[in-house]
């Protein structure tokens, strides 16, 4: 088998991803500062409470805009396929780094796909509710009740988003090679075959290997 690496993400994709990532960190930290007293000190990273209040919504909006970029690039790759259901059934094996009986999957595994759609949903909720509670410009157009609801939804969506991103980051740390893939774009054929076999075959045209007896990770 050739050992020529495969380009998983091109430069624009990587840039886009990291822009979203950075903005997320900023929005999340500023958001968390306002989310719970115990984290209010984070506001000092942004030059104090008022600056945190001023910057947070802009960072959020920017994050959303770039995220839309990612969506346009990757939405087709995030359709669910037949194998995905089985993969999810066998998620426990995946977690144990076992490959026994874990079906091959496409460019993204169902976990990543779930993440993708969750992020999209959260981002939308955050944007809409965020506008409603944006005092400086928009709140005056909404009733106090809608503002109260929006505040709640905003916090909820943010919570889900943060949680998902924690999983996402850890996955990146856990699955060796994926971080570097997002850093300089290349993955080894072995990596691609191991983690995203269907995608691997598609991009390389290789035939499926004969059924392995067993594998260790």
């Amino acid at each position: 088998m050739s050992d020529k690496p495969i380009l998983r993400y091109n430069a624009n994709e990587r840039t886009n991803h990291w822009l979203v990532a950075i903005l997320f960190i900023l929005a999340a930290l500023s958001g968390l500062a306002l989310f719970h007293p115990a984290l209010f000190w984070l506001s000092h990273l942004f030059g104090g409470g008022p600056w945190t209040r001023i910057l947070h919504p802009f960072m959020g909006v920017l994050m959303f805009v770039f995220f839309v970029g990612l969506v346009l690039r990757f939405w087709r790759a995030n359709y669910f396929i037949a194998n995905d259901r089985l993969w999810l059934k066998r998620i426990d094996r995946v977690m144990r780094n076992e490959e026994q009986g874990v079906p091959p999957i496409g460019k993204y595994n169902p976990g990543q796909k779930l993440l993708f759609w969750t992020l999209l949903l959260c981002m939308l909720v955050l944007l809409v509710s965020g506008v409603v509670i944006w005092r400086a410009y928009f709140s005056s157009y909404f009733t106090i009740d809608s503002i109260r609801l929006a505040t709640l939804l905003h916090a909820l969506a943010a919570f889900v988003l943060v949680l998902s991103i924690i999983v996402h980051i850890y996955a990146g740390i856990w699955i060796k090679g994926s971080l570097s893939a997002m850093l300089h774009g290349w993955v080894s054929r072995a990596w691609a075959k191991k983690h995203h076999e269907l995608w691997y075959r598609q991009v390389t045209g290789d035939k499926p290997a004969e059924p392995p007896i067993n594998k260790k990770g």
């Binding site: 050992d3 020529k4 690496p5 495969i6 380009l7 091109n10 500062a33 306002l34 989310f35 719970h36 007293p37 209010f40 104090g48 409470g49 008022p50 945190t52 209040r53 790759a77 359709y79 396929i81 037949a82 194998n83 144990r96 780094n97 009986g101 079906p103 496409g106 460019k107 005092r135 709140s139 106090i144 009740d145 503002i147 109260r148 505040t151 709640l152 916090a155 919570f159 949680l163 999983v167 980051i169 850890y170 740390i173 856990w174 699955i175 060796k176 090679g177 290349w186 080894s188 072995a190 990596w191 191991k194 269907l198 075959r201 598609q202 991009v203 390389t204 059924p211 392995p212 990770g217």
Partner: protein
Amino acid sequence: MASQDIIARSATTTPPSSIRQLEEVAKLIDTTKCIGCKACQVACSEWNELRDEVGHNHGTYDNPQDLSAESWTLMRFTEHETDDGNLEWLIRKDGCMHCADPGCLKACPSPGAIIQHANGIVDFNQDHCIGCGYCITGCPFNIPRISQKDHKAYKCTLCSDRVSVGLEPACVKTCPTGAIVFGSKQDMKEHAAERIVDLKSRGFDNAGLYDPDGVGGTHVMYVLHHADTPRLYAGLPDQPVISPLVGLWKGVSKPLALLAMGAAVLAGFFHYVRIGPQRVEEDEHPSPPDSSVQVVDPAVHVYDPNQPGGQGEQRP
């Protein structure tokens, strides 16, 4: 009464000093004595050095139209016809109620921007205010306003600066008919009781005191001719409570959420410790791509999961 000890601070998880036993103060607004002269509005602005815009007449006596960062109190006029055809002009002084359980303080994310004094006064400290407007979201009476000049929240302070040196609030001092009175909350309740007896003798059978439990009672109370229907008075809430939405948002959900996030991080950490990373068994450091050999760029091989072959056949 003059003490300004703080018994609650916004966004502060530890209790402030609260061992002193201080008497609570209260402002009692007797709508049945109020002539709607607006002296309290003027005295409030004069004392607090506020000058709102000179607005317009919108076909009513209400001016300014609504509370603002520069109008901390105002008269709301309602023409009410009783069932027996008598006309009543119900006039209510609107402003901060200084709740015992203040929704604004609960909602505020900035430590010390909203404080509750031992005597019951709920005060905003603009030095700490970050202008997020959560206090408005939290207030059951829709009182605080954000200034578009400095983006800070403002509302009635119950003249905490006057009270702290032993004076009554400016609106109380000025009220020509004694419709606004000030003293210990106990004394104010007794005064209200006397007023209610007098009102019943004048045919107001539903006269009563407005000191809603929903917010733990207030330090600004009303005597109403129609205590059975507070909403008659320009929509004074019948049963004010901190909105359940706000309760959910600011209540248990926050610590739980933090916990969950922390837990997620820890879960990852221990997963790494116990199960470890997934590696591909081959050289950990693939040789940098050499351009001489054919590389695969997905950009020219668009992956389509619906293409034949896309469905990898099952392994046994």
